[in-house]
């Protein structure tokens, strides 16, 4: 019996350890770690620039460990809640695609051991990512801080705030992989809304009614952070405090406010533990839904989709889209390849055609204000789902070798993919573009640049990381920031708020060109590896 338990723990450890090793070796991990260094640098602004990390009632918070740890851990929780899902939600799929899952299924590894190992692997990986982030933040305190670094303060704050995020996100990622309808691109979008709900609902409950009940599902610690900052600020300012976390301009005439840290009472600690416990029901769902790589269960899923409502809708569309046979087209190679990529996108995902149609109809029917504030953001969410797989689908379907063997295709494929992504973005945005152009040509130019930005980012990040997840994570997080910062011109990348100026437009166009260059670089790297 003891031997069995020892073996189970050992197997869980083996699965987790291997999972971490594979993740660390990935190119996208390097991208994430570099991004974290940049993020930490930007996040803790130099006070001489007139910006501060945290403010209360116009008083900037003194740069001590308590302040920097609270602010950076809260922002880390928000970011990791989204990015962590996309970074970790491909672990079961990888085993299925490589067919190593069949071998695992033929061993004595229990479903629970496998899932626990995978979850532990994701958790350890995210802990490593957070550790790199914390070290960067502490380095920033050494550079820009106004008090000595207190490692224990950082440890406690990150453990309380980010710890539950890591555990719950790892578990939810596993659920989304095991529940078939959630395991694809739809799941990526669904998770975005789940994340937004888990982020805002507890905070809203606390702000609205001071509800303690919200702390039980306060995974991203928003209610905890509000309470922690409010507790001291209320007693210091004897008024309702207005707390702002994140880089913002401060009033230098106001004396700095010193945040003394969180009071770690039993209910506070218990609330954080309770939030982390949300991972347990998630794990249970994953365990119940896990098919253990049984091809029959997978084929049944595919079979039911062939006869289900989705199939009934997509079958006639699919037949209709057969007219888009690229083989019959003439014209230059790049044009033919681009049209081929667009046709392939529509034939593989007939729903994209419906979505383009719906966007056009809605673009004609709804008022211009609604086009700007609702329709365009929705279109960009749809673009994430559509564009993410364009650069990686050949590799996933293992047809990249066949394609690259055709003369000229390897060299032109990345440009064809970029142009196809732009073409699809324009198809989605065509009617809104016209509507916006009528009232504000400058904003229409922003929208055009926004479409190009997403097209280039989709192909660039996908080519570089060889996974659609990185683009989905970065783009969804970016959209969230854009929507939350309606009055900040620097985030008005697509002009829907009407606040972007020429400088902003030029900056986003340049960013799009950098992403396009990344796509070319990824293609060049892949072709070098083939030689």
């Amino acid at each position: 019996m003891i031997g069995d338990r020892d073996s189970a723990l050992r197997r869980i450890g083996t699965i987790a350890g291997t999972d971490v090793r594979m993740r660390v070796a990935r190119g996208s991990t390097v991208v994430v770690l570099v991004a974290l260094c940049i993020f930490a640098y930007v996040l803790v602004p130099d006070l001489s620039t007139g910006r501060a990390l945290m403010q209360v009632n116009g008083h900037r918070a003194l740069y001590n460990s308590a302040t920097i740890a609270l602010a950076t851990s809260s922002l880390c929780a928000v970011m990791l809640g989204l990015a962590g899902f996309y970074l970790t939600s491909n672990t079961v799929r990888r085993d299925a695609e490589s067919r190593t899952g069949f071998v695992i299924a033929s061993t004595r590894v229990r479903n629970f051991e496998y899932l626990a190992g995978k979850m532990l692997g994701s958790t350890v990986f995210l802990v490593l990512v957070v550790l790199v982030y914390v070290l960067n933040v502490m380095a920033m305190q050494v550079l820009r801080g106004e008090a000595p670094v207190e490692p224990l303060t950082y440890a406690a704050m990150f453990l309380a705030i980010v710890g539950p995020v890591i555990i719950v996100v790892s578990a939810i990622a596993l659920v989304f992989e095991c529940v078939r309808p959630l395991s694809g691109r739809i799941g990526d979008i669904v998770y975005f809304f789940l994340w937004a709900f888990l982020l805002s609902a507890p905070a809203a409950a606390v702000v609205r009614s001071g509800s303690d009940g919200a702390s039980r599902y306060d995974v991203f610690a928003m209610a905890f952070i509000i309470n922690a900052a409010n507790d001291q600020a209320t007693s210091d300012f004897h008024a309702h405090p207005e707390v702002s976390i994140g880089s913002s301009r401060f009033d230098p005439t106001q004396a700095p406010w010193r945040f003394r840290g969180v009071r770690w009472s039993a209910p506070v600690i218990l609330a954080r533990i309770t939030s982390a416990m949300l991972a347990l029901p998630a794990l249970l769902i994953a365990w119940l839904a896990f098919a253990r790589f049984d091809p029959a269960r997978m084929k049944e899923g595919a079979g039911s989709s062939r006869t289900g409502v989705r199939a009934r809708v997509s079958a006639p569309l699919h037949r209709m889209l057969r007219v888009l046979r690229p083989a019959s087209w003439g014209g230059p190679g790049l044009l033919r390849a681009t049209l081929g990529e667009i046709a392939l996108t529509l034939m593989l995902r007939p729903a994209v055609f419906l979505a383009v149609l719906a966007a056009a109809i809605a673009g004609v029917l709804v008022p211009t204000a609604t086009v700007r504030t609702a329709l365009i953001p929705i279109i960009f969410v749809a673009l994430i789902a559509t564009l993410a797989e364009i650069p990686t689908r050949d590799r996933v379907a293992r047809v990249d070798g066949i394609r690259n063997g055709i003369i000229g295709v390897r060299a032109s494929s990345v440009f064809a993919k970029l142009l196809a992504a732009l073409g699809i973005a324009l198809a989605f945005l065509l009617v809104p573009l016209v509507r916006v152009a009528i009232s504000s040509p400058a904003d229409a130019l922003s929208l055009l640049i926004g479409g190009w930005l997403f097209a280039a980012a989709g192909v660039g990040l996908g080519s570089l990381a060889c996974t659609p997840k990185l683009f989905a994570a970065v783009a969804l997080l970016f959209l969230y920031v854009v929507i939350s910062s309606a009055h900040a011109p620097e985030f008005d990348f697509a002009g829907w708020n009407g606040t972007a100026d020429n400088g902003v437009r030029a900056a986003y166009f340049l960013t799009a060109m950098i992403f396009a260059a990344l796509a070319v670089l990824g293609n060049w790297r892949a072709s070098r590896a083939e030689r």
Binding site: I15, A25, R99, F102, V103, A105, S106, R108, P295, E300
Partner: protein, 296 residues
């Protein structure tokens, strides 16, 4: 159908059926008793070989019938077989970021093997010891396949299931692999599916042919060959007539010569004037079983 006496049978399949929810019957009422030796599972694409192997490998359960390992029904107690099973699936992939040593150590650990020397031994067996510390992402298809074979053998299995294992291997590697299977099959059960009949010619102790989910023939190789005796012919067919004859007859192979096409034909009766009866080879017997029913 039996290729081992029931008393000696390691695996017994009784009326095994696999029907998917969409109505497709991948394996239909298949019964078989298997002892030690190398069983070659032959059949065209879609015959149900892979599904049968997946059922035996405890990856998917039969919708009807039973698979017993010794006296244990593996649907109810899969661990009885799993603890002594080696399985190499078709189109086996690898984790690109790991080295060969790490990859094999991982699967060894999952199978309860923590002896590092066993991992090294397996890498030597499949001739990958010199590249043990190289990332498998850069391996050729054949090297990846050899790594797959090593993981299947790492726990010294009593039952080894290999699905199209020689795909992607060069002739030397195929020979090496055949020898490994032959050695293992001496006192254990090896189930080996392939399209390449020459792979099993020298090592199979039993042959099972599947078609449309059914087992249409099982026999030891000499009996399998005997069943096709008198049905294999060689004839020289005029080039102009060859296309017509090719549609009418089952031609095992053909060579174009200056005086027509020299063809090897599988047919129960003399297929054409001038056809001479020849000794059947395993490939002929396989075609005979597929085209004209049971070979044994």
């Amino acid at each position: 159908m039996t290729i081992a006496s029931p008393a000696a049978a390691a695996l017994t399949l009784e009326g095994v059926t696999k029907r998917f929810r969409n109505g497709v019957i991948a394996v239909n009422d298949l019964s078989l008793s298997l002892g030690t030796g190398v069983l070659a599972l032959l059949g065209p694409n879609g015959a149900g070989k892979t599904t049968l192997m997946q059922m035996i490998a405890t990856i998917t359960k039969p919708t009807a019938g039973r698979i017993r390992f010794g006296n244990v029904d593996i649907a109810g107690n899969p661990d009885a077989l799993r603890r002594t099973l080696g399985y190499l699936p078709q189109d086996f992939g690898v984790y690109d970021g790991l080295t060969a040593l790490e990859f094999l150590t991982y699967f060894a650990a999952l199978k309860g093997i923590h002896d590092r020397s066993r991992v090294t031994e397996m890498l030597e067996l499949v001739n990958l010891h010199a590249v043990a510390d190289r990332a498998v992402g850069g391996f050729s298809g054949g090297m990846k396949q050899r790594l797959g074979i090593a993981q299947a053998l790492i726990n010294d299995p009593a039952v080894l299931i290999v699905d199209e294992p020689t795909a992607g291997l060069d002739p030397e590697e195929r020979l090496r692999f055949r020898n490994i299977l032959s050695d293992i099959g001496f006192d254990r059960l090896v189930i080996f599916s392939t399209h390449i009949v020459s792979d099993i010619e020298s090592i199979a102790t039993g042959i099972a042919v599947m078609k449309s989910g059914r087992l249409i023939a099982t026999a030891a190789p000499p009996d399998f060959l005997r069943a096709a005796a008198g049905s294999v012919w060689e004839a020289s067919i005029p080039t102009a007539r060859f296309d017509v004859e090719r549609k009418r007859l089952r031609i095992a192979r053909s060579v174009r010569t200056s005086d027509g096409v020299h063809a090897r034909i599988v047919h129960p009766e003399r297929p054409c004037d001038g056809a001479a009866m020849v000794e059947p080879e395993l490939e002929d017997a396989f075609i005979y079983a597929l085209s004209f029913g049971s070979a044994a």
